[in-house]
């Protein structure tokens, strides 16, 4: 069974086509990235999964539960960390988490609440009013709120926007632990290096359309842009070896790692000796920019 299944989902706001025919499947236990520029439709897609918005056409399922027809099942299976830093100023951290548990029908949930608070370093703030917390602490409470009902699928909508480095790293360690424990994680982020290190598979949205959906490794490979940068100590660069000048060195574009061998062979045959060599890999940012430019 897929953790998330999106079929032919479209959504329009007036003249704006927010989502167009999105088909997407996230497997159980996956760490999945949802990327795209602002206004690409990421939050709209998440809102449809969470039942905050309704698709004009198409259907979506969480762990097999249709988000419209079986909204109770779908919402029980899903934990959402919203993008906005929202909180209820009337309550303390513990009250907030107890209320959230109760909304899911869990009325004796203190053990799990304590565990979640401990994991997120919130224990010392348990009886502090939400208003008195720093932005980073409020963000942690939002994460805790999404976890009170132990959902198998967790969606984090730009959870690290405006969060300091220390908290960001703590948060990622925690989310990775949840993933190891079997939770399916869907993440939207602007920090591409985060998506690159953590997500096994990535979908890219642009103007409401799905423009890429593949494993992170395949996406990186797709760009054909391994760059081999070589600086010669002596010898003449062979004319049959295509390269561009770059600050006294030469850069050869490779399709795959194996081609390094033939470059070295050609240089050896031409009698060159190498002073410095570096293999530069594309990162997700290159792929992202390339895909956004292309489609």
């Amino acid at each position: 069974m897929a953790a998330i299944e999106v079929r032919q989902v479209s959504k329009r706001f007036g003249a704006l086509q927010a989502l167009a025919d999105i088909d997407l499947e996230v497997r159980e236990g996956e760490f999945f990235g949802l990327l795209g520029p602002n206004g690409a439709g990421k939050t709209t897609l998440i809102s449809i999964l969470a039942g905050l918005a309704r698709a004009d056409t198409g259907s979506a399922r969480i762990m097999g539960h249709d988000v419209a027809l079986d909204y109770r099942g779908a919402r029980r299976a899903l934990g959402v960390v919203p993008q906005e830093l929202v909180f209820d100023p009337f309550f303390t951290v513990r009250e907030t988490l107890r209320n959230q548990s109760g909304y899911f029908g869990l009325r004796a949930n203190d053990r799990w609440i304590d565990e979640v608070m401990a994991s997120l370093d919130l224990t010392a703030k348990a009886d502090v009013n939400m208003r008195a917390l720093s932005g980073g602490m409020k963000r942690r409470v939002l994460v805790a709120q999404a976890l009170v009902h132990k959902p198998p699928v967790i969606v984090l909508d730009e959870p690290t926007a405006g969060v300091d480095v220390e908290l960001r790293q703590g948060l990622w360690q925690f989310v990775q632990r949840l993933n190891r424990d079997g939770h399916t994680i869907v993440l939207t982020t602007h920090y591409l290096e985060e998506a690159e290190t953590m997500c096994a598979r990535i979908a890219m949205l642009k103007q409401g359309r799905l423009v890429a959906l593949d494993s992170t490794a395949n996406l990186l490979r797709q760009l054909h842009s391994l760059h081999l940068r070589v600086r010669l100590r002596s010898g003449e660069w062979p004319a049959n070896l295509e390269a561009v000048d770059s600050g006294g060195a030469r850069v050869v574009r490779l399709r795959e790692y194996g081609e390094v061998e033939s470059v070295l062979a050609a240089l050896r045959a031409a009698g060159c000796s190498i002073e410095e060599m570096e293999l530069q890999q594309p990162d997700l940012e290159d792929v992202f920019l390339e895909i956004m430019r292309r489609k």
């Binding site: 706001f13 919203p82 909304y103």
Partner: protein, 251 residues
């Protein structure tokens, strides 16, 4: 039923935490009305033979406080949640629209009734209030507070800004309650205004509630309750329809 008990509890806890503002303040306001109007009018006005003006005034003030505070509770709670965005916390869980409605409206009715009881309590030293038909007191207070709680919910759902809720309160709820015979019997009004009062549902709430105390009223409480019950049906149906369709809450 999964989220209802907690949502109700949370809504009640919310106004309890700011009890000075949500309960004590309206009780004081009602007491001031009683002291001033009672003092000025007591010797000049007599609505029913056996009832002094100050005594006549108390049930009206109680009911007015019940209604206004029921409206204020649901409207301000949901509106604040919409404005701050924390309404997602109740939209993400598996809470049905019926549970959502019941929790907000019952919490609003609770606040209305608590304030009403408070007004009754603080006015006790000033008047000796008979209770001729307790069932009408209870029925009209409950129905009235639920109706105004549901109206507050509707106002908060429909409004995009806090001023719109305030306009709803100032231009609809306040005139309806003030022109419903809280401070007078509509019988003392000129014919035209008397007729017009009969189109004001709040008039029936106050009149019926007062009947429970004095055993006399402008209209038969059974007719009054029929009107109030019909009102309850219409307002609740409207609120439930908005919630079911997710109007302005789920887009």
């Amino acid at each position: 039923m999964t989220g209802f008990p907690t949502l109700l509890y949370k809504e009640v806890l919310r106004f309890r935490k700011v009890g000075v503002q949500t309960v004590a303040a309206p009780v004081l306001t009602a007491l001031l009305y009683l002291l001033i109007f009672g003092h000025v009018m007591d010797r000049h006005v007599r609505v029913y033979e056996s009832v002094s003006y100050t005594t006549f005034l108390v049930p009206g003030l109680v009911m007015m406080s019940v209604l206004q505070n029921a409206f204020a509770n649901s409207s301000s709670s949901l509106m604040q949640s919409k404005m701050t965005g924390n309404v997602v916390f109740v939209l993400l869980p598996p809470i049905s629209y019926l549970e959502f409605f019941s929790a907000y409206v019952l919490a609003a009715a609770t606040r209305g009734l608590v304030v009403g009881a408070g007004v009754l309590l603080v006015t006790m030293p000033f008047v000796e209030l008979p209770v001729r038909a307790l069932h009408w007191v209870v029925l009209f207070a409950m129905a009235g507070s639920i109706i105004l709680g549901a109206l507050g919910l509707i106002a908060a759902i429909v409004a995009d800004k806090i001023d719109q809720v305030q306009a709803f309160q100032n231009f609809l709820i306040m005139p309806l309650t003030f022109l419903s015979g809280v401070f007078y019997s509509v019988h003392s009004l000129p014919a035209f205004w008397q007729e017009l009062s009969h189109f004001n549902p709040v008039f029936y709430m106050i009149d019926g509630f007062r009947h429970g105390f004095f055993g006399v009223s402008d209209v038969d409480p059974r007719l009054g309750f029929a009107v109030v019950a019909a009102c309850l049906g219409v307002v609740s149906a409207a609120a439930l329809m908005l919630l079911k369709g997710g109007y302005k809450l789920r887009y």
